[in-house]
């Protein structure tokens, strides 16, 4: 029998203070930043009200999930997976179209993004599957199952379309597979396959932006012209790589370094299939889409178009220098040079007005949050709890890394929010729920309830 009082008592005593403190600090920095970012829109009270309300709602949800035994998720994994699929299908049917993508479900006064909920459900489900099959995880069949579960969400999200959300899905899956003991070599092959699929078209686009391509004598120029000229070109390159792989393997074999034939074969398959898949990606992506994905490397080539956001964001962050320009005094933010400043580019607002001190503080607070989540994972009372905590840690880590890399000009601009800081009710509530699940795992590390 659980009394209300005893729950709160346990919550207060059992909660991870570090985690909660980092969370609270991030949210409060975020509230100030959102206020500043929306100040020049002239509707700052609206944004800050929504953000605070979302935080309070999230706090309630957090307490609820913290009090709820996370082990029930494992018992009902099939049910919640089915529910999440229904949610994703319903957004495709009933969703509201914003900027050409159906990502929102409108419920009168409230509207939310289902993908923010389903990304948590996915972690709960995939952790449950890996926990139940941990003895077989080395087998390829278990990998296939895992990716089948991933594909259910992945395909539905791609139909919205919301490419950037699926990136974190994929990375979280890889981390969870690794943590639950999957063969790292298989994961390497999978990563290689995906890397080639997306990487080759982008690499070609990247080469095209280089000056030496203009010079047909150079090797790289030849390569690009060759690959552009006929698709078979990629195959020649792939076959060459595979032959090289086998040659190295054979050489090592002769040197008495015996490596199973399965490794070069798998790597070869990854390379070949990666190249095949890359052709279809190359064909589907439009010219401007490909360009947009590499333009962050040379934003000046398109300073009024695709490169504008990156340039302005870098100027905003850089011009903050050590101590920043002061609250509500950032010229990039307040004069509207910085785009999407209350959502995806909130970190640039912090960088400009708070300077290096605050932007570094945000990174440190994030790291504390992830470090505590990993500690919770290590101390969890069962494997399921450990895996869920690792999944949540990885999700927060990748969202933060992708977002900050993007605003700092290290990655293409993808619509990934900075959790806890970016304006947005759905992501705030779902992040608080994720924190609630972490607390739930932490509070139950010694006993059953």
């Amino acid at each position: 029998m659980i009394h209300e009082k005893s729950f709160f008592h346990r919550f207060i005593t059992g909660v991870d203070i570090w985690l909660f403190a980092a969370l609270a600090a991030l949210v409060s920095i975020g509230v100030f930043a959102v206020y500043s970012a929306s100040f020049n829109y002239g509707v700052s009270s609206k944004y800050i009200t929504v953000q605070t309300a979302a935080f309070l709602l999230g706090l309630v949800c957090m307490l609820a999930t913290a009090s709820f035994n996370y082990q029930y998720y494992k018992q009902f994994d099939k049910v919640i997976y089915a529910l999440s699929l229904i949610l994703l299908v319903s957004v495709l049917i009933f969703g509201v179209k914003v900027n050409g993508a159906k990502r929102w479900i409108d419920l009168g006064p409230l509207s939310f993004q289902p993908v923010e909920i389903t990304k948590l459900v996915y972690i709960l489900v995939i952790a449950s599957f890996l926990d139940k099959n941990w003895r077989n995880i080395g087998k390829p069949s278990a990998l296939a199952y895992t990716f089948a579960i991933l594909m259910g969400h992945f395909c539905l999200i791609m139909m919205q379309p919301a490419f950037s959300s699926t990136l974190a899905y994929f990375l979280v899956t890889l981390v969870l597979l690794y943590a639950s003991g999957a063969e790292p070599f298989y994961l390497l092959c999978i990563s290689l396959f995906c890397g080639l699929t997306v990487g080759i078209p982008l690499f070609i686009e990247f080469l095209k932006l280089q000056e030496f391509v203009m010079n047909p004598v150079s090797l790289a120029g030849h390569f690009v012209n060759f690959v552009q000229g006929n698709v078979i070109g990629i195959f020649y390159a792939a076959v060459a790589v595979v032959v090289l792989l086998f040659a190295v393997w054979w050489f090592l074999w002769k040197l008495k370094t015996k490596i199973s034939i399965i490794y070069p074969v798998l790597l070869g398959f990854a390379v070949m299939f990666g190249c095949v898949a890359s052709i279809s990606v190359e064909k589907t992506l439009k010219d401007y889409q490909r360009k947009r994905m590499v333009v962050f490397l040379y934003p000046e080539t398109d300073s009024r178009g695709a490169g504008y956001n990156v340039i302005q964001s870098k100027i905003a962050i850089g011009s903050g220098k050590v101590f920043g320009k002061g609250f509500l005094k950032g010229t990039q933010t307040q004069l509207g040079f910085l785009p999407e400043q209350h959502t995806d580019f909130i970190f640039s607002v912090i960088g400009e007005e708070g300077g290096w001190v605050f932007s570094q503080a945000v990174i440190v607070l994030y790291f504390i949050f992830i470090w505590r989540a990993l500690v919770i994972s290590r101390e969890a009372r069962d494997r399921y709890g450990s895996l869920v905590a690792i999944g949540i840690a990885a999700m927060f880590a990748f969202y933060a890394l992708i977002n900050i890399s993007m605003v700092a000009g290290l990655m293409p601009v993808a619509g990934v929010p900075l959790l806890f800081l970016s304006y947005g009710g759905s992501s705030m509530v779902s992040s608080m729920i994720a924190a609630g699940i972490l607390f739930s795992i932490h509070m139950r590390r010694y006993t059953y309830y």
Partner: protein, 597 residues
């Protein structure tokens, strides 16, 4: 913690991997931390500067150019202010609507086509209409509500009081062209600046340009003005004091304009300093019209009004060049000036006949009367005896075939032919016939009117050759001297006193009794030499070079009337008008004289 105890081995494997994941994330976080460190601390100042640049916008108030004065302080180029309709992007979110433009077109009764490209937001102010009258300005101000974003501002405008006579001295101004910006951007010229073209406006542009002023504003990403920081008033450019006498300038221009063809040039030099008292090329143009459609007519005009004949046009000097042959004969051959020569009216060389301009012949002449009467056959004979090199040497001594280095743009240097030049050019040897026509200033010889003025000035000075100049000094708004001319000489012409005396005597004789009789002035002794530059296709050019007073020279004049025929008939009266203006004489009925070359 349950599973740790239940399955120790599995848990240890898990903690291994767990550690790897923590290290992996730590590395990635260090990576982005160092990127942030690089952006904010290493490159902080760089990005700070860019962020300042993109929020600052300077409205541009063009500074008036400096004023140009004549020798007695009358204004040759001044400034007026005209009203210009502008579109200020930072007061308006969108480009001016078609409706606004239509409204403005209706008020001004002009067809306005704004030149707005896509980058207007961050770009400059768009100029919609220039030269508005006060009335038009008030009309626009009245309808300011309808004409959103349109402002009327005061802009300086160049005013040229004696536009046509002074046109080639002053030049004109125009908006800088793209190719000029490329060339001059290092000197601080930028889009929308006005730049001098031709004359003093071009030569002394750097001094005339003032310092532009304007408002320093803060604008947001949409180009709206959010704050104003400070106002810098524009500063007028330096004012230039010319050596030009407006009086002589007008007299020379009128005389040329009313000459036989109305085309030609005249240069008046102060013999004691080389100062240009007047420099005229006819026809001139109205510099006030620069930038308007009317100005385009000048470009198409066959009379080439934009061409500065005084120092850009090349003509054969004709008989004026006999001065050179004259001094070469005395210096090299030491010929007897009294020795008689009989002019039959023609001269035989090989199988060709070279005629004198007076078909009947001059009869008995000597060196002095041959120059005064401009007898060709005498100088054919003399030239043959001298040879081309001796004549060429004295021509070069008088700085013919080189620039006078006047402070004026685009001066031509002229040309003295040599046997080597002919060989390389036509593969034919220099013939005696070439020497014959060279000795009377025909053939490939080319000079500018300015060179002839400088030459006759050197004759008046007994060989002292001053570098001609037009700008005396330049003073900036604070009264500081930015530039001052110091009188310079070029290498002097070294001739014996006897030669100078004989030359002066002959030149006076030319005016007293010879071909230059029409410039004879009451009470003032004038010396000069007429010339007729033969022009194979068209009517000959009329030349006259002269100085006065002959005993104590003050001014030297060179006049050419294009296609004017004989020099004595057409060029001399122009010089006479200039003398009358200079010495303040009543214009007189010209002494009746027969048409002379």
């Amino acid at each position: 913690m349950v599973w740790q105890r239940e399955d120790k081995f599995a848990y240890e494997m898990f903690t291994e991997k767990h550690k790897m994941i923590l290290v992996f994330f730590a590395l990635l976080f260090i990576l982005i931390s160092s990127r942030i460190f690089y952006l904010q601390i290493v490159k902080g100042n760089h990005y700070k500067r860019i962020s300042e640049q993109q929020r600052m916008y300077n409205t541009h108030e063009r500074a008036p150019r400096g004023i140009i004065y004549s020798d007695n302080g009358s204004t040759m180029v001044g400034n007026d202010f005209s009203y210009v309709a502008l579109f200020y992007p930072f007061e308006q979110q969108e480009t001016p609507s078609d409706e606004t433009i239509e409204q403005l077109s209706a008020i001004l009764k002009r067809d306005i086509k704004p030149n707005i490209d896509r980058s207007w937001r961050y770009g400059r102010v768009v100029k919609l209409a220039e030269n508005l009258t006060m009335e038009e300005m008030f009309k626009i101000q009245e309808k300011k509500l309808v004409l959103s974003g349109i402002s009327v501002v005061k802009e300086p405008k160049r005013v040229y009081p004696f536009a046509e006579p002074n046109s080639h001295v002053t030049g004109y101004t125009g908006e800088i062209r793209a190719d000029e910006i490329e060339r001059l951007s290092e000197k601080g010229y930028k889009m929308g600046d006005y730049i001098g073209r031709g004359g003093v406006e071009q030569q002394y542009d750097e001094y005339l340009q003032g310092v532009d002023g304007g408002w320093q504003l803060e604008v947001n990403a949409k180009g709206h003005q959010t704050k104003a920081f400070k106002y810098v008033p524009p500063e007028i450019g330096g004012s230039i004091q010319l050596t030009i006498s407006q009086n002589l300038q007008n007299a020379a221009y009128d005389a040329l304009k009313n000459s036989a063809t109305g085309r030609g040039a005249a240069v008046v030099l102060d013999t004691k300093t080389g100062a240009v008292k007047a420099l005229v090329s006819s026809p001139g143009f109205d510099a006030n019209k620069a930038g308007t459609r009317d100005f385009l007519k000048y470009l198409k005009d066959k009379k080439l009004p934009l061409f500065n004949r005084a120092l850009q046009a090349l003509y054969p000097p004709g008989s004026v060049f006999k001065i050179i042959t004259f001094v070469a004969g005395l210096e090299v051959l030491n010929i007897d000036p009294k020795a008689a020569y009989y002019c039959t009216g023609s001269f035989e060389l090989g199988d060709r006949w070279y005629t004198c301009w007076l078909k009947t012949g001059h009869g008995n002449v000597n060196l002095i009367s041959a120059l005064a009467q401009s007898c060709n056959t005498y100088f054919y004979e003399l030239g043959l005896k001298l040879g081309v090199r001796n004549i060429g040497k004295y021509a070069a001594d008088f700085h013919i075939g080189e620039k006078t280095d006047i402070d004026f743009p685009n001066e031509k240097k002229g040309f003295i032919p040599t046997p080597e030049w002919k060989k390389s050019r036509t593969k034919m040897s220099w013939l005696q016939g070439d020497t014959v026509i060279f000795s009377i200033g025909q053939g490939a010889l080319d000079v500018t009117p300015l060179q002839m003025a400088a030459m006759i000035s050197a004759v008046a000075n007994r060989g002292v050759y001053y570098r001609p100049y037009i700008v005396d000094n330049i003073v900036n708004i604070k009264g500081e001297k930015m530039y001052g001319h110091t009188v310079e000489t070029k290498s002097a012409v070294e001739l014996s006193d006897k030669t100078w005396s004989l030359l002066h005597k002959s030149l006076i004789e030319t005016v007293e009794n010879g071909t230059g009789r029409r410039s004879k002035l009451p009470g003032i002794k004038v010396a000069g030499k007429t010339g007729t530059a033969e022009n194979p296709q068209k009517v000959d050019h009329a030349w006259f070079v002269t100085y006065a007073p002959a005993d104590n020279p003050e001014i030297a004049i060179a006049v050419i009337v294009e296609h004017g025929g004989g020099g004595g008939l057409n060029a001399v009266p122009v010089a006479r008008k200039i003398y009358e203006a200079y010495f303040g004489l009543e214009p007189q009925e010209e002494p009746d004289a027969q048409a002379k070359r």
